[in-house]
């Protein structure tokens, strides 16, 4: 179970498998797994679908589908614009769930997660939202402003319904807090490689390495690293250090500048065959 290519023949039933079990979880020289990202409804759902097809074809393993929110405070300019453009074109939570249901069925080689902000979940109904995710086969939820200490109801709903609440840690997270967060996260721990919002480049070096080593010494789950990954060098740097590399803004930037064929080329450079 190395990457999506090898799994493309698997049955959709696999999506019921717990997220952590789908991650090989070992930094021991396995090719790193790739998680890509899409803001739903941007530029439109058809393009989202084609992008996801490219993700599966090029061997990405996990896909983060972002449900747009009007106040995405953790996102930088590229995602901010995409969130707002998606909403301006009328994207609703219902459409996002319907779309997710379709791609989970059509692309069994991929594991799908949702990323959104807490208010989107709250207004849908916390319990109902998590149940809907479970029914569709969404495996994890990344909700950066569902501060875990204040979001008991959400964390509980995830546990009850077998959807993983993915928590984020940063280089500024104290070790004490890291123990707590790694205990309550589901599936994997999302390491934001630096401070700041999504989008700007991270310089991967000694500090990132020290951060990952610190997380590794505490985490009981696989670990994913994201924020500012822009090139295949960044991915190669992370190889052997963490389990998943998360590539968000750069994919959207390539799509905006070079279209789907550009994305296809870009994915080839970062995902080893």
């Amino acid at each position: 179970m190395m990457n999506g290519k090898h799994l493309s023949g698997e049955k959709p039933g696999n999506s019921k498998m717990r997220l952590a079990e789908r991650i090989t979880g070992s930094p021991s020289g396995q090719p790193i797994q790739i998680m890509t990202h899409q803001i739903l409804g941007y530029p439109d759902f058809d393009t989202n679908y084609e992008m996801i097809r490219l993700f599966q074809e090029s061997g990405a393993r996990f896909v983060e589908l972002q449900l747009p929110f009007s106040e995405p405070i953790a996102d930088g300019p590229v995602f901010l614009h995409a969130n707002q453009a998606s909403l301006a074109s009328g994207t609703t939570t219902k459409q996002c769930l319907e779309f997710a249901e379709r791609v989970v069925t059509d692309f069994p080689g991929l594991s799908f997660l949702f990323m959104t902000y807490y208010n989107v979940v709250i207004q849908y109904g916390i319990e109902e939202f998590v149940k809907a995710c479970a029914a569709i086969g969404i495996q994890g939820l990344i909700v950066p402003d569902a501060y875990p200490e204040e979001s008991q109801e959400f964390m509980e709903a995830c546990r009850q319904n077998g959807v993983e609440p993915i928590l984020i840690v940063t280089p500024y997270t104290s070790s004490e807090r890291l123990v707590y967060l790694s205990a309550v996260t589901g599936g994997f721990l999302y390491c934001a490689a630096r401070k700041g919002v999504t989008g700007t480049k991270t310089s991967f070096g000694k500090e990132t390495e020290a951060f990952i080593t610190r997380v590794r010494s505490i985490a009981r789950t696989p670990i994913a690293v994201g924020f500012g990954i822009q090139s295949d060098q960044d991915v190669r740097f992370l190889e052997g250090k963490c389990d998943i590399a998360i590539i968000g803004t750069q994919i959207l930037t390539v799509l905006e500048q070079e279209g789907l064929s550009g994305v296809k080329r870009f994915l080839k450079t970062i995902i080893p065959a």
Binding site: S70, I73, A74, L87, T93, I122, Q123, V169, G196, V197
Partner: protein, 431 residues
């Protein structure tokens, strides 16, 4: 400026502690829904705020700044001509317009910039709607030797350009926010985005009693002085407490400022006046509570009543007054409203422009458009009052900044002709 036998800190904390909660929850509202990256920044503020809350020396320094720099105490003016005009309740006006920089915002800005300095920060950032909080922060930063960056929606910059001019002259960097509704909420988002990458050197001077815990508490503390003074002043003038206290509500800082000291006195009615814009049902207002359209939700780090659609997307808000044009409201006020302790009402743009004309001509005061909402709310109620009632209206700021909007609202042709002449002069000079 405070009652002699109590220390400054005792007086302020007695007023603030009646409302402020250490756990950051106000009934169903409040809390701290922040992304993980901001956890250390919030931990640092909580720790320092808890420390300064007990620190007599800090409060002495804060109060000397208020007294010797800002010009406190501000008077409580008996509006005799306005009282005669309506012939009902006696009207008193708390004169926050007489603070240095012309609004209550400086009370909070001085307190927080002083706090930032104690935390070892060298830079402050802030959001601003009407520009008053931006000017106050830029001023406090200049006075205390920190650098300042102010985020302001492009729409608000156009509406309140004189304040943009002043902020820049005061040495602050002003950054236009060019997305969303280009108003206050978008400026807050942008300030938060700055803060997640700058918190090591930078403090975010949030301008109102909203946002994640402990901001509502911090801002309440630094604004409590308004009500403490007003209570002493009315007791001195009338020997009794007022029947009602009116304040406009954007985020809620001037309202909480004046309400806190009166909160324990159950027979003083506290009235918050929101921006009714073009009126109920118009979809163009910022009356989250008064029009019953605000729904509980989580955004910008806290839980409160927001104007939002069924999917939880924030709606565009509107008011003639940029400082009231906010999509959420202080969690403390949302709770007080739910508990029936603060009554909420709204004043429309039209009512505000009418009220402004009355205030100017009968009393010689020029309140900010924001503050005029408090007056308009009181005027709307005044027929059900009698000569034995006393109203205190918090005049949160002065109206100089609004000269362009007011002239436009009043269709002042002479002013328009003046602007055209000025524009021609600049064009000719540029040629």
């Amino acid at each position: 400026m405070m009652s002699g036998h109590k220390t400054v800190f005792q007086t302020i904390s007695a007023a603030a502690e009646a409302l402020v909660k250490d756990d950051g929850y106000y009934g169903n509202y409040g809390g701290s829904f922040i992304p993980e990256i901001l956890v250390p920044a919030f931990a640092e503020i909580k720790e320092h705020f808890a420390a300064i809350k007990q620190d007599e020396a800090f409060w002495q320094e804060y109060c000397s700044l208020l007294a010797d720099y800002s010009g406190r105490p501000t008077p409580l003016t008996y509006a005799d001509r306005l009282t005669d005009y309506f012939g009902r309740a006696k009207i008193y006006v708390k004169r926050e317009d007489l603070n240095h920089t012309g609004a209550h915002k400086l009370n909070n800005a001085l307190g927080q910039v002083l706090l930032a300095k104690k935390m070892g920060k060298t830079r402050v950032i802030a959001e601003t709607g009407a520009g008053q909080h931006g000017v106050a922060t830029a001023t406090a930063a200049a006075k205390l030797g920190l650098t300042a960056t102010i985020y302001m929606g492009r729409e608000d910059m156009e509406r309140q350009y004189s304040n943009v001019f002043w902020m820049k002259r005061l040495g602050a960097e002003v950054i236009a926010v060019d997305y969303g509704s280009r108003t206050l909420k978008d400026a807050i988002n942008e300030a938060l985005r700055d803060w997640v990458s700058s918190f090591e050197t930078t403090h975010y001077v949030l301008g109102t009693a909203s946002g994640a815990h402990p901001f509502p508490a911090i801002v309440s503390y630094f604004q409590a002085v308004i009500g403490i003074e007003a209570k002493e002043q009315i007791l001195r003038a009338e020997g009794r407490l007022p029947s009602r206290v009116y304040a406009c509500v954007g985020g809620g800082s001037n309202a909480l400022g004046v309400f806190q000291a009166f909160y324990p006195h159950g027979d003083v009615e506290l009235v918050g006046v929101e921006a009714g814009g073009e009126g109920q049902g118009s979809g163009r207002h910022a009356a989250r509570i008064a029009y019953g359209e605000g729904k509980a939700g989580v955004a910008q780090g806290f839980k409160t009543l927001f104007l939002q659609n069924n999917d939880g997307q924030m709606k565009d808000t509107y008011s003639l007054a940029a400082g009231l044009d906010y999509v959420g409201v202080s969690p403390i006020l949302a709770d007080l409203s739910e508990r029936g302790r603060v009554r909420f009402t709204a004043a429309t743009d039209t009512e505000v422009v009418e009220a402004l004309e009355i205030i100017m001509k009968t009393e010689g005061l020029i309140p900010a458009l924001e503050s005029t909402h408090a007056f308009a709310g009181a005027f709307n109620d005044i027929t059900e009052s009698s000569g034995s009632d006393i109203f205190i209206i918090n005049m949160s700021g002065r109206g100089d900044k609004d000269i362009f909007n007011v002239a436009e609202g009043l269709q002042d042709d002479e002013w328009k002709a003046f602007i055209r002449r000025k524009a021609r002069q600049f064009e000719n000079a540029a040629r």
